[in-house]
Symmetry: C2
Subunit: 331 residues, 2 copies
DNA sequence: GTGAAAGCGCTAACAC
DNA sequence: GTGTTAGCGCTTTCAC
């Protein structure tokens, strides 16, 4: 159907080896031949078939990024960081969505097994530490935005504990003593770490920790509202909330307003991620911003480095975060 | 490094052909041999190398979906529709982002040239009709969410003109006679079509069309605000706005509120896409909902159909839309 | 500086 | 029902 390297070789009157050398900018080819070959390539509209090349070289120069869902804008900047760094290093990033479903996630890993991609970067995962370690041992897998205890692979995240500590400390400094937290069920360590940061901040400031101040639901917007409803049933109602995601914070803000609370200095809310949403809603939402671009960039850099070495590195990389204050904390 | 089909054949004491047959569920293999081979496969932890298979079969069973950016949640449901239909038909969907940049888009098309993927589905495009037609002629390309005049390829969109007509008619029925429109610059026909629907609705109701009621900017949130500012400088100020995207509508809503306008029945705004955002902001935003899941599903179905036939179909598919009324129109 | 040829892992005739 | 073998398109070693 389309031209092959053989066609080019024949048309240019050289061997396929020479065409291949031209294709790969190999030095050992005379200027004249190179010109001739390049012209023939153009004439025939030839492009190399990477299936042949990849098979031969046992590499694809493609990294698969698996995100939970395309519905979360949070990943977009991370993906951009990945793409820029990957392009720089001669790789392409392809994306697929797992729908936070372990079966789908497993299916996508087939691309690793069957050599369709060189490596996988997981933006969150449902897999166990053992699975991840095995996978990274046999292939090359990196984890982003989430950590898994004792999993032996490169992990790139913010310091969730410290970030939560900062957020809650800010609320305390504003005079709040009754601070609720909206967290999530399940075993995402990002949430657990943020809970720890929440507890640490309270403890550090000599504030009693109340278990009924911690609501755990899904990441769904509505859970933010449910949390507020729950809190408002308590004897001692919280006057501030720290949520592990901006969506939850948005749900909390809207529900609080609906309940007649004066969201701002009187009833403060801080989210997590700095989604664009935070700027759009009224009141705008204070939040923790992660250096997303950097997370993506570093994840790719470390992944490609691991691809090149026989003894894989598997450390944890902590990326910067920043507290951003807006109207939901009265700023 | 990892086991090959040869290793399996040797270990099982059969030929590679037999292993291949088992791998592909070929009927012509005895139950006993199949069992033996499958056990050996498990023992060796073998998975077939798709680079070999794909090279041999000249197909990858992968479709590349190119989206402008992962920042727009609008595409998520379309992608889900694509993935479900693709899985059904034995294909995988991989996603990449073009950043609305023609160079990047062109780069991604390399995956088509070099046979890394079987087909490409573009969710919007910067390419010309000629480029698209050539591309689809030589390979297999489908266009979604946007149309390009005279481009010879399968195109799947809502009826933008009719949808806009519905939105504007709704505003007129609510008593508005001075209706502004927030559109976009550039040559996106979706916007042009929506402008036509806007004009048609006005004309149909005997309302004069004023060119200064049409603002054209980017798709950026802020442009929604700029539009409102612009409109408020006019002698006869609009009392309603139809925007070609929810982001623009959100920007318009917030700016209108800031200017002291009573957004709702007094000053109405309708957006486009039905982003989740519409439900979160206050007032919630009326909008046009597209049947996104269906758009994705049909796009994939038609693409795969075209992959199988020598004479490609290249028609346009119109998908349903629905007007959704919320607080921003006083509902 | 260039060519011949082997072989990456797989599938699919073809032969038996 | 199973095996032998050619060959998909490419890179790379080895000659020269």
């Amino acid at each position: 159907m389309s031209a092959t390297i053989k066609d080019v070789a024949k048309a240019a009157g050289v061997s396929v080896a020479t065409v291949s050398r031209v294709l790969n900018n190999n030095a050992n080819v005379s200027e004249g031949t190179a010109l001739l070959v390049n012209n023939t390539i153009k004439e025939l509209g030839y492009s190399p078939n990477f299936l042949g090349r990849n098979l031969r070289k046992c590499e694809t120069n493609v990294i698969l990024a698996i995100i939970p869902s395309a519905e979360h804008t949070f990943y977009s900047e991370i993906l951009r960081g990945m793409q820029v760094k990957a392009a720089e290093l001669g790789y392409d990033i392809l994306i697929s969505t797992s729908n936070s479903n372990e079966t789908t996630e497993q299916h996508l890993l087939n691309m690793l097994y069957n050599r369709t991609v060189d490596a996988v970067i997981l933006l969150g995962t449902r897999l166990s530490a053992e699975t991840l370690s095995d996978l990274n041992n046999k292939y090359c897998v990196t984890l982003c935005c989430e950590r898994v205890e004792n999993a032996d692979l490169v992990t790139v995240t913010v310091d969730d504990c410290a970030a939560a500590f900062d957020a809650v400390t800010c609320l305390i400094k504003k005079g709040h003593r009754n601070i609720g937290m909206i967290s999530t069920q399940g075993n995402a360590l990002s949430s657990k770490d943020r809970e720890k940061g929440y507890r640490d901040a309270l403890e550090y400031n000599g504030i009693e920790i109340r278990e009924d101040y911690i609501y755990r639901g899904s990441y769904d917007y509505r859970d933010g509202g449910y949390a507020v409803e729950q809190f408002m049933k308590l004897d001692k109602k919280p006057t501030a909330i720290f949520a592990v995601s901006d969506m939850l914070a948005a749900g909390a803000v809207n529900k609080a307003i609906k309940l007649g609370l004066n969201v701002g200095s009187e009833f403060s809310i801080i989210g997590f991620d700095n989604l664009f949403l935070c700027e759009i809603v009224r009141p705008s939402i204070s939040t923790i911003e992660q250096s997303c671009y950097l997370i993506g960039s570093i994840a790719v850099e470390k992944t490609i480095a691991n691809l090149a070495t026989p003894h894989k590195y598997s450390g944890r990389f902590i990326i910067d975060h920043k507290l951003i204050l807006r109207q939901s904390t009265g700023d």
